[in-house]
């Protein structure tokens, strides 16, 4: 083996550099949200909470936060429910036109958000559903359910299909078997899907910007700030947004990883 230690360490250093690039903007947002200066630069000014106070006094920010929460919770619950049902359909059934079914279920994230935004705006305003909070929820479910479906489908692929058949043989109806065998087995993935879809919805600004009208969500508010003058208030909002989405994504990943290691023992724990 012609292992060259210098190259190995060089590659590891490059990995660290890549992570630095990815996390630098997040870290900078955090640091400058506590910086007293109006125009962020180095060296840092003093420590201050004035930007947090500024956003706390902004009623538009509070309204945006409220809208974001309502949209995030509704979108994540609906898209996880739909995603679970579709993942189960894919897991259990074979039927004519299944590739089309899967394409419809999984393709939305590959459509550019501006096009989604325009299409949703044009369509929803035609049927008088645009400009409201539910317009954002409808669009976010479209965009989030593929993530929920993929996560739950991966989990179901670790399950032995004969478990469900065993429940039927023991006299459980299809619905009972679903809720007593499938749902418990998929529970970590269902929770992870709830968190991930909430994070996706929490961050989505483009489609929300097109369809929300006056009911701005927090990311749309940030977009508004971006179009205006420089303001460290974005850093303060950004820090809150980062902490929220990072928590959601970390929770989801921990749920998925922890259970992955215990695949073998799952059938026994779910038998009861």
């Amino acid at each position: 083996m012609n292992r060259n230690r210098l190259i190995d360490w060089g590659l590891r250093a490059y990995v660290v550099l890549a992570f630095a690039f990815v996390f630098a903007p997040i870290a900078a947002s955090f640091v400058f949200s506590f910086n007293v200066d109006r125009f962020p630069s180095l060296p840092l000014g003093g420590f201050s909470l004035r930007w947090y106070e500024a956003i706390a006094e902004d009623p538009l920010v509070w309204e945006g936060l409220r809208n974001t929460m309502v949209v995030g919770i509704c979108a994540s619950v609906i898209s996880t429910t739909l995603g679970f049902a579709a993942a189960y359909t894919d897991f259990r059934y074979r039927f004519f036109g299944k590739p089309v079914y899967l394409a419809l279920a999984l393709l939305p994230p590959t459509i550019p958000v501006v096009i989604m935004g325009l299409a949703m705006l044009a369509f929803l305003s035609r049927v008088n559903l645009s400009g409201e909070i539910h317009s954002v929820i409808i669009s976010h479910v479209v965009m989030c359910s593929p993530f929920a479906m993929a996560i739950i489908r991966l989990r179901l692929s670790q399950m032995d299909p004969s478990l469900e058949a065993a429940a039927w043989n023991l006299g459980a109806g299809e619905w009972r078997a679903l809720f007593h065998v499938i749902v418990p087995f998929a529970r970590p993935a269902i929770l992870a899907a709830l968190f991930i879809t909430m994070a996706v919805s929490f961050d989505e600004f483009a489609v929300a910007w097109f369809v929300s009208g006056l009911n701005e969500t927090l990311p749309v508010r940030v977009l508004g700030f971006l179009q205006g003058q420089v303001s460290p208030r974005i850093n303060a909002i950004g820090t809150i947004v980062f902490l929220t989405t990072m928590t959601l994504v970390i929770l989801a990943q921990v749920l998925l990883m922890r259970r992955l290691g215990r695949v073998e023992e799952m059938p026994r724990t779910d038998e009861a």
């Binding site: 903007p25 059934y93 409808i138 994504v249």
Partner: protein
Amino acid sequence: MKKVTIFGLSLSLPLLVWQLLFFAFPLVFLVALSFWVVENYRMVPDFDSVNWTKMFSRGVFWDTYLRTLALAAGASVLVSILAFPCSYGIAFKLSANLRRLAIFLMVIPFFTSYLVRVYSWQIFLSDNGILNAAFGLVGAGPYTMLNTDFGTMTGYLTLCLPLVVLLQVFSLMFVDRTLIEAAHNLRCGRLRTVFLVIIPSARVGIVIAALFCFILTFGDFVSPLYLGGGKPPTLSIMITDTTKAGQQWPRAAVIAIVMIATLLAVAFSAIGYAYRKRA
């Protein structure tokens, strides 16, 4: 053999109905919309090709189209090249635990506010920003980085790097290790092994990663607008401008359809290339 049951339908139909109604239908509606006309600031259903001929006869539309295409293609190549050493390092040079941690960390930014990260780059790149302050300390600069293509590319890199690295890592992890050892045993040099053994074996993942980068950057309006300055625009900026300024939705629909057609063409040729049998 299997019969259709209420149970089966009530699980399979909800998502189907939702995506047909709120995903497929709006996209189809966009095609119809592109033939509508605008009269007195109101859209009127019609079957008129005026929007298509108007948009296609404009030089600025084609300039923007080519520019957007070039930016997205450039970003796909650039991000793939910059990501590769990182993916290679994660896949081959880290312990199993560190590799899991690295993947764990790379998933986070994919879901974390792109918009705020782009704003944060403004702090780094602006004329009085962090980077120029750092350059000033060593007597260099200041450089104009904001509102240039360099700024746009920085934003694209922010958008795509995590996803591209993840897809590349997954494909590299599944490269058959015995192939690499065989190459070593046959005295194939390090770099030659990378280019003649590892990259061809991981081709599917690498091409798919580049394709995702193309899709994401082709449709992104945030980086070219807030880091690239938006002048000249890209197609996505054109769509937001056309939609938000007045009622010219039919023309925005024309741009959107051209974009989707381009993406489909690129996606099919990339997938065809990725799965092509090696000669």
